[in-house]
Assembly symmetry: D2
């Protein structure tokens, strides 16, 4: 199978190497060409445009946001014009529900297939082939993509024929993570101000009822107040809450927590802290509780 | 050791039997006497007042709320007047931080010892001796209580010399559970309105990142929309959020999530749904998303 | 001066007649042509496209939302291609800050002038020439528009050279009105549930500290529970809060009240009540307080 | 009529002089005796206890909060024991609904009359006899109090036989003022960050739709950023929101705005700014929007 891979950011560059083993050379594209060097050294071929990467049976996109995906698909030298009839675009980026719907419609009109397959997992999970993949699209196309998903992830969940459903679930998952972060942020600010040790509190939580990976990961970052460098930036957390709320608006579903979280991220960004980790809501909660240290050093 | 146990509600009556084995007969008290029948049949002695139950080295209270504890301690025939000097009152109820401070002060003034030891776990965990206990009080007194804690729970966390800290941690834990409930409530309302199956969504969550007992328990109740009978009633969820916010007010810690949850529980109660399970925020989120079914049948 | 007027909805059709008196016949355009009949009978000339209406020195647009304005300006037969160099587009619609910026840039590139001049006032104020106009644009162009503003409104506020500022102020004003509505909604739900008469409460408010027109107008609607027919629909209130929040997001300004109001309007819309008046937050507050009557009759 | 007046703070000391003119010497009491000196010089008689001030037909209390009123009524040397049967206690303080109910019940049991008559207006209005009075109590007792109300205020609103209703209305009014403050705080932060002049914005608002005294007063303070000295402190604003929410909880009325405002005041207080004016929410909104200046100078 001839596969193209567009987007070699921290996630894409950890995922693409898994696809090198296939017989056909992997086509890779990235706006900054140098990021493809290692892959090319290992046998991939550089494609000058997203469209050029889309000349085989499958093209995968793993890009930063809606704008990047729109550009790669609808822009000059884009995927939409280049992808052969019957070939498949697998979109693995975290994008809006609205864009997923637009992509599905545009590819259908062009006689192409479209699958949404966003992932849960950080770059280290991607490098280890341990991602969780949430996939939606026409059943027979998903079957064809199965081997790709098995290469990239530890488990794939098929959630329906309509591609956008995978994106909505991905956004909902990020919303649930951010909710966990904000709830921990508030609880840690509360107990610390009462003189309780942050790490003793964390241990108590994670050894009783709050034993999930997200509790340990984000609870650990918040207990340590280790918000830099960011694994996933606060401003991206804000972006995902905004996408969630956009979908919720279209579906007419009020989401008080999502609203509140979005506002908290915006406050962090206004303070110049958009680049710290999204667990940095812990810093904001502590600051609002009267902590001495200012948020960002003010100019 | 001569032990008294006051409060044979659903939690207390599951805990007290574990204390029967000790040499001295267990003194038990409950406002409704008949609830003590089974324990008396097994060798306990009924005490006519909380004070009578407090005639030994240790008296344990496990009551519904602040008012019940105040009555048992400060009321006529209460514990404060009856407890011998040097003896210990272990308060295991979920009470306010303010009352814990008041109890600590009152017992100290009376030359008695006071320990806060609230628990995490439902009645089935209590019956199995599997509670998690959060204990705070003077170190040497906690040592004496150790065997009692080992009898009642699977693990005890000692969180300091000041009793109120255990209560604050218990309230914070309930706040974190309620946050999990509300976040799931919103996410399920969202995905369901987009046509995604609730149980497929739950499976995806609990087999990837959301693997803690609270995710499975409350996620399950929300996916099933099984809000009756209540394991823990919505109005008690509201009470605990109110206690959390009261402590947060005194400590000057803004808690946006806690505020929002309290408001949601109040909306449930205003709709006549205060007696459904506290996971019933799932019903409210679905109703606010335009679900046809009314909340409670209106009178 | 040759003037075109695009958009004969409830506001536009009340404004346009004031412009008939000028020497040159007024050019009028509306998607549904029949709405222009009365004006044509009074001497206006019908323009088949927005572009045709833009053949003179000034074209005014008064349309429902961003999409309608984008269509009239950038669409086929649109204003951008038709408006002569040096001529002026006065946008009086309530549109987004982002679109105002885009319009300013597009007209500048085309050698045309652009002025934002949204208004405060309902159709009856428009008919009476009593609108308040908030205008922003290049100083010399505003001077030229002065006589038009004097014809349409009782007072014009000039708020700077950058057109978008007028739009931001208009949105902020609508946010302040919606805040007044929500605060009254909550207060009326509270006092009524305590057995206090709604109208006695309103009289007390409006004869003491809350004497502004918005207090009397919206307080009256809420006291009377007179939410239909809508003067301005709840879904439009939601749209304006969304535009406000979009601007706030771009400027990085957290707005807790605006967030909350947007969520309340969304809840109304989810209940099928998007078409009642935007003061209908009063109905929602009463319903959430446990009022017997359901929100909308469910299908 | 023999009248006693208890509480000579900034409000009480501006109100009491109006009552000097009556035939009988006014009995005045204040914890700090020196505050009564001027009144005594003008003919009043100092009462050593609240009870001593309650020896006539009417005793008026104008105190800081629930605790002060409870002390003056139920404490040693208090009003309850001293007030003659059939005499009337007029409570003009801003107190909780719960305390008003308790006072009504206690006085009734003692064969005394009780009237709640809280006021709207600052000390300057009190000094000018221009207060608005909200009165509730038994009709025939209100009749007797009528001349006192006429002496102290420009207008009295009678809102029913149950005293607590006057208190609920007073709290609702303060909630509506605080809502106005928060909405202005957010709007000013928004427009200022877009480069719009605060005073130009204020003028536009107060000369169009927002013409009430509260708009001018609080809009002026926020536009000027003149938060010190406090006319009414932020921590008192917080106290009144807490009392409102307490009443709303008892009545089961969700109030999202009130919740949000309470949280904002708490944030101000956590930052050490509890003593600035309650319009200081303007400072917080600006700070959260990324303003350079820190809130309070941190230690």
């Amino acid at each position: 199978m001839k596969i193209g891979f567009v987007g070699l950011g921290s996630m894409g560059s950890a995922m693409a190497p898994h696809l090198l083993k296939a017989g056909e050379p992997l086509l890779v594209h990235n706006r900054t060409k140098s990021k493809a060097d290692a892959l090319v050294a290992d046998g991939a071929r550089f494609a000058e445009t997203p469209g050029e990467a889309a000349s085989g049976e499958v093209v995968i996109t793993m890009l930063a946001d809606d704008a990047a995906v729109e550009d790669a698909v609808f822009g000059e030298g884009g995927i939409l014009k280049a992808l052969p009839k019957g070939a498949t675009h697998i979109s693995m980026s975290t994008i809006s529900v609205a864009l997923a719907k637009r992509l599905a419609a545009a590819h259908a009109e062009a006689g192409q297939e479209f699958v949404s397959a966003p992932v849960f997992g950080r770059p280290d999970a991607a490098a280890a082939g341990k991602l969780f993949i949430v996939a939606a699209g026409p059943a027979e196309v998903l079957d064809l993509c199965q081997s790709i998903f098995e290469t990239l992830g530890q488990r794939t969940f098929f959630v329906g024929e309509e591609a956008f459903k995978a994106n909505l679930i991905k956004l909902s998952g990020n919303f649930l993570i951010a909710s966990t972060i904000e709830s921990f942020a508030e609880a840690f600010a509360l107990v610390e101000k009462a003189g309780i040790d942050r790490h003793a509190f964390l241990e108590l939580l994670t050894e009783t009822l709050f034993t999930a990976p997200i509790h340990k990961t984000y609870g650990g970052l918040i207990a340590d107040e280790r918000y830099e460098p960011a694994g996933f930036a606060a401003r991206l957390g804000h972006k995902d809450m905004a996408l969630t709320l956009e979908a919720a608006k279209d579906l007419k579903v009020p989401m008080g927590f999502a609203n509140h979280i979005a506002e908290r991220y915006l406050t962090l960004m206004a303070a110049g802290e958009g680049d710290i980790d999204w667990s940095g809501l812990g810093r904001l909660a502590k600051s609002d509780a009267g902590d001495d240290a200012p948020l960002a050093p003010k100019k």
